[in-house]
Symmetry: C2
Subunit: 279 residues, 2 copies
């Protein structure tokens, strides 16, 4: 028997279209099995779990999913309940809404629900998250920071442990809309081993097999500090302005991909052909 492949991760920069074409939510449904998908919505990031869950249940049903449910988690006991585990055991796709990423890690971290999500994801379960649900995906998560980040102070970004579904990346969301480049720079300057991935609103990256591709209306900005030549992060006061030097960036709209292992852009087919024609 072939070894099971991990499911896709769909990491969304927030504010994805829920009225029109719903390109991103449609992609989630397709990845999770289309009309036969069994979808669970987890709105634990939000204080209004029921209302927010219902918004997504409506969309998923409109997109043809018959089996879409919500899993409310008001406290950690709920995340350790057998019924919560059972709902994930039978799901093909789990969708995390926005809210506060710290609520997700605080209520789910280390619970049975956390464990079943990882085990099932490793065996093929598709996981999606938007906004806070995107931020929590990696092992190192941006927990918050001063906004607006016009004059980013070195201490203005707070890193915290995430849910560890995505490895080797730090995610920032609402990226261009909230002008978060410097916040993400501060994060990768602290932790240059990971790639920063800033995702615009109504935009997502689909991660699978160590690569991602971009879908949606905006772009993903990859911030690669592996060749950073200088940062004043270690030496400055928390209220001094951050300096970073020698960080590579890539701005990638829909169709582009990125190889997380090689840290290299994967061109869309038409651009690949054009590049070959030129060489």
């Amino acid at each position: 028997m072939a070894e099971a492949e991990a499911g896709a991760l769909l990491i969304i920069g927030g504010a994805e279209d829920k009225q029109g074409e719903c390109a991103i939510l449609r992609e989630f449904v397709a990845l999770a099995g289309g009309a036969r998908a069994r979808v669970v919505v987890i709105a634990v990031a939000s204080e209004q779990q029921t209302n927010l869950s219902n918004v997504y249940l409506d969309v998923f049903r409109r997109l043809g999913v018959e089996d879409a449910r919500t899993l409310g988690v008001a406290h950690r006991e709920r995340a350790n309940a057998p019924s919560a585990v059972e709902s994930i055991e039978r799901a093909t796709g789990v969708f995390f809404t926005g809210g506060s990423q710290l609520r997700i890690t605080r209520l789910l971290g280390g619970t049975l629900l956390d464990r079943v999500l990882h085990r099932r994801h490793d065996a093929g379960l598709v996981l999606a998250g938007t906004s806070a649900g995107a931020a929590m995906m990696p092992g190192v998560m941006i927990a918050g920071g001063v906004e607006p980040v016009t004059s980013l102070r070195a201490g203005a970004v707070e890193l915290a442990p995430g849910m560890e579904f995505a490895s080797g990346v730090i995610i920032d969301q609402h990226f261009e809309e909230r002008g978060r480049l410097r916040r993400l720079l501060a994060a990768v300057a602290q932790h240059p081993r990971d790639l920063g991935v800033g995702i615009d609103e109504d935009t997502a990256v689909v991660v699978r097999g160590g690569k991602f591709r971009v879908i949606g209306a905006g772009a993903a900005t990859v911030v690669d500090a592996s060749e950073m030549t200088h940062t004043n992060l270690a030496s400055v006061e928390r209220n001094a302005l951050l300096a970073v030097s020698g960080v590579r960036i890539h701005v990638l709209p829909a169709g582009y991909g990125f190889d997380l292992h090689d840290r290299a852009v994967v061109l869309p087919p038409e651009e690949r052909l054009a590049a070959e024609a030129r060489s």
Copy 2:
């Protein structure tokens, strides 16, 4: 006799402090000769030349300059008048206000005033410009672009010939405040020979001898596309999203410098000492 050295250029990202410490305008006065400076304010970029000029005259007088004047240029004939040339001949510092950079190039470009500004600058005259007065400094100038630049289309930045006081750079101003990274990326992707320099508000770069140093409250962001590996700029429709890959960036707050020839950061003295102590 030693060859004359070109004067400093003070390129300001707009909205510099005019009420408090006035660090940047104070620097201009110091570069131009302090109390003995002979300052000329040119507000040709603005439709309200007189009002805007008076704001700066007041500040410069408050900072101790006795000889501060304004040079109004309502049409090109004025920029070819002997009296306009004469006022620059005797100046030690010329300050360009904000407004529209295209007004500056349209009214001054190729006039006698343009020529005397270059000749005197090459011999030591200090030139300063803020906002539009900063944008016009290089040979290639960002003339405008769609704002907000949330989803930058490839054709959304308009380049035009500038006044050519600064070489090898493309300037963008109000940089972090208006979220202009992608606009500057689009500019350098079109013209990767030049370095992009995005300057925050109340922040300036002082260019002299092929280097600049940063002063003020924010940062200068250097965007270096010399090793850019890909852009879709040539192949996309004007309304497609821009893609760029492999662009190096440096975010430099006050105290940091940059060598425009070597394209390398110059650390502040205390960071240089810290780096030496570590090695």
